[in-house]
Amino acid sequence: MSQTAEANVKGENVIPTSRFRSFFRQLLKNKVAFSAFVFLVVIHVGVFLGPFIWTVNPDAVDPANALASWSAEHPLGTDDLGRDVLSRMLYGGQITLLVGLGSMIFTVLIGGLIGSAAGYFGGWIDTVLMRFTEAMLSIPNFFLALVALTVLGKSPMMVVLVIAFTSWMEIARVVYGETLKWKETEFVEASNAMGSSSMRTLIKHVIPQTIPSIIVASTLGIAWAILTESAISYLGLGIQPPTATWGNMLQNAQQYIWTAPILGVLPGVAITLVVLAYNFLGDGLRDMLDPKHLGK
């Protein structure tokens, strides 16, 4: 691994043995994206494995100990109801990150399906799906999300679905463009000439080509979803207490902004850093997956 990397730096011809490995090598070279990647790995591992080490119940109320400063018992202090802030940050992070990932998965599914179907089949399918996409784009999606949550309820799953249904349009357009480009290639026609059904050709030959763009768009999509969830929770329309999320912790903290600023600073900084890291990673991936950068 290190040998081939060295050879590559010297400009010698290196035949990449595996796409994953060459991809990882490129990631190593982009310092900002790599730092963001490492940071995100640490945050995700910490948030999901942390509660196994720090086993304090995040919902355990202790009014006698409310708004306490940091101590051995509560390393990050307690909130207005005397709940342990470290524990709430960990559990809240789980929900926030899961909402981000979950929304991204549904966003990619909806956007990928609509974009690839419109691009590949063309004709009236294209017209109907892409006009629908444009119509969705012209609705202010944050307010649509607020209305939908008010009407449909506020469970975490509902938040995921609502965010996904209001933010799939970007990915649909990206996949649509890529599909239009790739469906004209000779290997797509070759597949049809061999007797492949158009569905199989789409899945086997066209969609795999769009994956780099989907990866970039979905990385940026996670950042967007986390921000949206936080904003919704901050407005009190998202996931409801006592379930902690970084967003509703922020909302809760604003009453104590002068007495216990740490309550607002912690979730605020966490959200900012994670969103920033996802944006850096997305930008880095975009540069790396750009064909002009390949082979460099």
Partner: protein, 340 residues
Amino acid sequence: MIAAGENKTVEKKISQQEKNVLLEAQHLKKYFPIKEGMFKKNKRYVRAVDNISLKIFEGETFSLVGESGSGKSTLGRALLRLQEPTDGRLFFQGEEITSLGKKEMREIRKDMQVIYQDPFGSLNPRMKVSDIIGEPFEINRQKSGKEKDKKVCELLELVGLDPERRNRYPHEFSGGQRQRIGIARAIALNPKFILADEAVSALDVSVQAQVVNLMKDLQDQLGLTYLFIAHGLNIVRHISDRVGVMYLGHLVEVGEVEEMYERPAHPYTSALISTNPTPDPRAKREKVVLKGEIPSPSNPPSGCRFHTRCPLATERCRKETPKLTPLAEGRKVACHYPLI
């Protein structure tokens, strides 16, 4: 090698009368509508293939030549229904395939395969060579697992590639090697008919010869019939039994390759052949240089479509479209004043 090839050609010529017609087109047309604005109806068409009838015999190599934009590739694709013909009838092995449904057409496709021009664009860059060559088996649910792998190795050996390299990606191969991969994929299902659409045009000359010779060898081993679409007239002469010359969507001349190269009947054929470079620099030849470029197929000239550039054109050529008529044994030409 070449001498043996010529002997074969002679044998083929003799037996052609008894040979079966493998693929036949009757009055085939492929028009592309020109979209003008959003609300206008499509009124004008590009007549890429205009009323072409031809027969391709079993075991022969039929070549289509002509300038860029003459409709060669469109004709090839329309013959295989990779692009739906606008009008006309198609027969494959005596069976009409013009109106077969998608599923029935898929069955027929096993017997008609394509080798593409671009060795970079015709192989999926994200698939291993073994998956690319194994794809026809997968599509037709024929072989799987070890059996498929064995067959893939056999095919790679057949086209002169190292089976050890089957788990690599296309970008790790050179242009000529990729074209061999494309050929291996095309012959995987033991087809009867192969459309070679500019199959060697993208390769450099020395590699062209190798690939063309490979195609000839495979033809002898597997009894293939080729429709060879090409630019290079020397390659066409080397590989073909019969040649069809296209100009602006029309078939202007059809005949045996040697006869046609020696004595072209259509002024356009004559011009094409006279501009073909020969290896002998001292050879004196009369070059027929054509004026101008090929006119737009959306607005073709009246009468004989070649009259705007033809040195022999008369008033009659401007008004009356010549039909493809038999001239001699196995020779047809669409010209009011054929050269022979």
